[in-house]
């Protein structure tokens, strides 16, 4: 059967294909047809006849050789087919590996991006943590200071109460020499109000202190401190026992009073050397962006 196939392949390789129209155009109205099996039979017959005529090999021996060749051919064909199949398998594995590699590359890029994001977040968190730590330290210091001020305020209130009590006990011989009744009543009311506020704010300070955040606590302390300072200052001024007030910022302008006089000089006629420098637009843009304005 293989010989027939081989004959077919040989015929295909050595013949041409032509359509009926092409044959017609070549002037051929009829064509002779022969089957490949018949050609194969003719070839086999011709080979056998040639061998018989040569007398070199016995026809049976020739048949045996043909059969042996056929077996070897089949064996080689199988090997080639197996190799082809193996190559095909390897090719498929390679394609699969390449696909996996691409997927892994993409995944690696995603992970790298996620890692970079995490690093940025960690960096920001680190800075934020440092800032919070500083705020906590500042807040603690502020709380300690406010507590100290509270204790001082308690003392001042006690002293003022004592002074008011003394004033109330002492009869006022002349209205102009001491505080009037209205003023005394106002003072007593103010102190009562202040004391109530103080107690109230102290309670607020103790109860939610642990629960509230540092910023809220700090704000409450600031408010308490401010209220106390304002009231004590007002009260003190009324009683004539005001504490010293803050001075203005130091003005060093006086240090230049002798430098204002006109000195003989040629400075007006001298040009200062100027040079150009790089612009600052990029710096400003970055700063505005940082400040949230860009």
């Amino acid at each position: 059967m293989e010989s027939v196939n081989e004959i077919k392949e040989a015929l295909s390789a050595r013949s041409r294909t032509a359509t009926l129209d092409e044959l017609r155009s070549e002037g051929k109205k009829k064509v002779r047809l022969i089957r490949a099996e018949q050609v194969a039979a003719m070839v086999v017959e011709a080979v056998h006849a040639a061998i018989e005529q040569s007398g070199l090999i016995d026809p049976k021996e020739a048949e045996r050789l043909v059969e042996k060749s056929r077996v070897e051919f089949r064996s080689i064909l199988r090997e080639r087919e197996q190799e082809a199949q193996h190559a095909h398998d390897v090719e498929q594995k390679l394609a699969t590996s390449e696909t996996q590699l691409r997927e892994l590359g993409a995944r690696s890029q995603e992970l790298s991006a996620a890692l970079a994001d995490t690093r940025v977040q960690l960096e920001a968190a680190g800075a934020e943590s440092t800032r919070h730590r500083d705020e906590v330290i500042d807040t603690r210091a502020e709380v300690a200071r406010c507590r100290s001020e509270l204790e001082q305020a308690h003392g001042t209130i006690a002293e003022l109460q004592e002074q008011v009590a003394q004033v109330q006990r002492t009869p006022a011989p002349v209205a102009a020499q001491g505080p009037g009744t209205d003023l005394l009543m106002s003072l007593v009311n103010e102190m009562a109000s202040m004391k109530a506020n103080l107690m109230n704010q102290q309670a607020q300070e103790r109860a939610p202190a642990a629960a509230t955040a540092g910023a809220e606590f700090s704000a409450a302390i600031d408010k308490l401190s401010g209220t106390l300072n304002d009231r004590l200052e007002k009260l003190g001024k009324k009683m004539g026992v005001s504490a010293a007030v803050d001075g203005d910022a130091v003005d060093f302008g006086g240090m230049f009073k002798d430098t204002g006089k006109l000195l003989e000089s040629n400075m007006e006629n001298i040009e200062v050397k100027q040079k150009a420098g790089g612009g600052i637009a990029a710096n400003l843009a970055r700063l505005k962006k940082l400040k949230g304005g860009g």
């Binding site: 440092t130 230049f256 003989e264 040629n266 420098g277 970055r286 940082l290």
Partner: protein, 348 residues
Amino acid sequence: MTDHSKKSDRSADHGAETAVALGKGLDVGTANLAAAVQNDEGGITVTVERNAFLDIPSDVYSKSMLTKLKVPYVVHNGKLVVIGEAAFELANVFGRETRRPMADGLISPNEQDALPMMKMIISKLLGEPRVPGEDCYFCVPAPSLDVDNNVVYHQGLFESLVNKMGYTAHAINEAHAVVFAELAESDFTGIGLSFGGGMANACITYKSIPCLSFSVARGGDWIDKNVAAVLGCPRSKAAHIKERGIDIRDPKSREEEAVAIYYRSLINYVLQNIKARFESGQNMPSFTTPIDIACAGGTSLVGGFIEVFRDEFAKIDFPIPVGRIFRSEEALTAVAKGCLVAAAIGGS
């Protein structure tokens, strides 16, 4: 009038005359004074003058010669006082020391004529304010680690001086100004170093916010003093050697060798102090990514400075990761430029 309304008024009041942004920067340095202002070409204009003067006998001939030579002078207390770079050059010619209004980064307590001389130089550099109360940011040093100095007095003095000229004065830390000028690419996160005449200032910032600033009372003058001592020459001569264009990586003479030795010592001293502050752990920021170090200041202008800085940096085990180490391209004027950035952003 508030700052904001002042800024708004300027364009209405002055129109095209003040198309450029207002605000000026002033570097009050021990060795040099510099003023920076934005120009109408999108860049900045910087004026620099040596912070020094020299008194010479006053006579008609000298005055005439100085005027012809365009050398600035002022007659003060009966003496002819030459001001600025010319004083430095004359001092070298006559083998004398210049008089210096500032020492170790601060107004000099030993120089009684310091204030009038500085006022004249600063007036010349800044010029008149373009609108009344124009913002002027001037630099002040940070408190020193190694000497007890009075920065408050110094700051108050110059605040008053600048205000008196018609500006609204604002103080900014000197090394912080370096960060504003040089670390924009790093989002103003890093270390700014200003190597000045009297001091070396350091400022560590995170996104433009100063986390730590300090100074050491060593700078170009310290190098001059030591070089003069070992060579037996006036300090102005030592300064001249230092500034004549030498390369401290490759000293060519005994004099240059002395300069190189003290430069290396100064750089090492500054780095060791920064390292020590980081290692002390008090109120120190922690950086997870490498930060940049920007160097500026007149003392950093010497050839090979940044290479020697990198050499010395490599020798110490610095406690935080560091990326770029570079010197400003305009090292002498970087502080003034940073002050100008602060002035421009301060009112925006």
